[in-house]
Amino acid sequence: MANTALVAEHTARTLYDHLPLLQVLVPFCAAPLIVLLGSRRLAWPLAFVSSAVALIISVMLMMSVREGGYISYTMGGWSPPLGIEYRIDTVNAYVLMLISAIGTVVLPFAYVSVKDEILSKNHSLFYACWMLCLTGLLGMVATGDAFNVFVFLEISSLSTYVLVAQGAARDRRALTAAYDYLIMGTIGATFFVIGLGMLYMATGTLNMADLADRIADQGANRTVRSGFAFIVVGLGLKVAMFPLHLWLPKAYTFAPSAVTVFLSATATKAALYVLMRFIFSVYHPDFSFTTNALEIIFLPLAIIAMFSASFIAAFQINFKRMLAYSSIAQVGYMLLGIAILTETGLTAALLHMFNHGLAKALLFMGVGALVLRTGGAFYTQISGLGRKMPLTCGAIVVGGLSLIGVPGTAGFLSKWLLVQAALERVSENSLFLLVSIAIVLSSLLAVVYVWRVFEVLYLREPNPDSTATEAPLMMLIPMWILAGSCLWFGLSTDFLYDIANQAALGLLDGSMGMLDSNKTLGVE
């Protein structure tokens, strides 16, 4: 073999080296496999097994980047910045863990709920879409390539529209909700990709680390700035940042219960992660326009969201819709944490992302269980069920308390940190005193809307002709797993706090740049 001398020595990769890729690949392969098998009976087990594998992988990734540093994985042997790179650091791994954990926990719940709410001929395609959605969310978090983020964003969005529209079997309004979401989501994705186009024009690269290096080298110019504006608006739509949130209440209200649970805990969070990645890693907060955007745009909008959405939530008469509005308010807290722009603030935002994911998933599961037994989530339909469905309603109470931020639940920690972060900056700018007061006041609004649910469930008389019984075990187990973790992370705070803090530090450090990664790849 004359060629042998020309071929470089190759060290075989082990499966362990492939973890960043497998994180995305496993759920991805499940989707076409489900369609190919086309079996209603096999769809759910396949989806569940691959989500569980994704969860295990994300925990393994978390273990290896917990202390900082990152793993770089390249596709097809093309080294970055030319090739596509997956780059896992503490922030990524943290969000990956949230998404895959929720994805896995929701599936047993979905098994019962989907059977009840979706036409049986659509079941296998439903789970295929579900896996695609999971793939998209995991992919946009795992990847280190800006354009790849867009591709995965579209994968997750397109499948989300289909999933939301599946609610049409129960309520036709799901179709218009999905259509609205499609229009808004597409505009968001378009803005995002226009922003990326501008960045590409200005720098000639799409790898995030490389982008960061080059933007830092050449400084800000108009193209880079307008790219930033487009990216922020585009992702703002996906995050449901306050004035861009209009798709959210409808989509969450009319989507099938299981889909709402999944989306509320993952979709906006993944988009929020990408937003943070762009603000902190690609664009550095040292740029005055980044800081200005955070202080002049994010901060006031976050506070308006906290109040107005909570206020609207307090007047809802439908449990599911109320929770949807509450989600907008909670996104406000996360954006506020980012806008405060300190280590504590970011830690609070990241923690709140996780804690809110747990609590909201739990509450939406509660709604799903009530819907299964009563056929609707209007307060008149679910009144007095506290006595008939004690375990379901008990879990809802835990979730509600965590949503308010009562001490002893996970929600307390993140809100407490958020107040602390705001107070830390009072010495620079006394307006932050108002911000911290606003956090506390808007939490009081949360008390109002959560209390209304408690009152409906426990203090009102049940419908005399209601035949509701306790939810099935397949629903109760995931609900209580989440309720347990809400309590566990509220009492034993170190584990999550350490990770979130490490992640916040990683974000504030900015990008680790391209040069460093060449070392890990063995490229001279």
Binding site: R13, L21, L25, P32, L33, I34, L36, G38
Partner: protein, 147 residues
Amino acid sequence: MIFHHLILRVVTKLLVGTIILFALYVQFHGDFSPGGGFQAGVIMAVAFILYGIVFSLESVKKVFPEWLVHKILALGVLIYACTGIATMLLGYDFLDYDAFAPLHPTHGQHWGLLAIEFGVGVTVTGVMVAIYYAFAGRPPSLPDEDW
């Protein structure tokens, strides 16, 4: 039995085979001449769409039933992914085709590309035909209970 459009029907029957052949040419010659999986898939789908337009939707669905279209859609994606998995199992990066011929990477790249382009072609054929079926199979107006 349909008696009108005799010329169209005869020409279509003649063309369909040629179109499929050309699609296969574009598919497997994509590495030396312009073309590849996407173009080949579209051309392949054109054969079925043309047949459907001239001979009615029902007859094309007899040749290429809807369930098969859906399976093919997924199959192509799996072919693509499995090529990547194969390179992984051979100890290389995902989709690093050097794995197929470590001593002669150019050949490896060649084979790998053929494999994934085949996957692309299969999926694109499926997607295009599925889109055609979806549009052509739409009822002229929606019945009230479908709203």
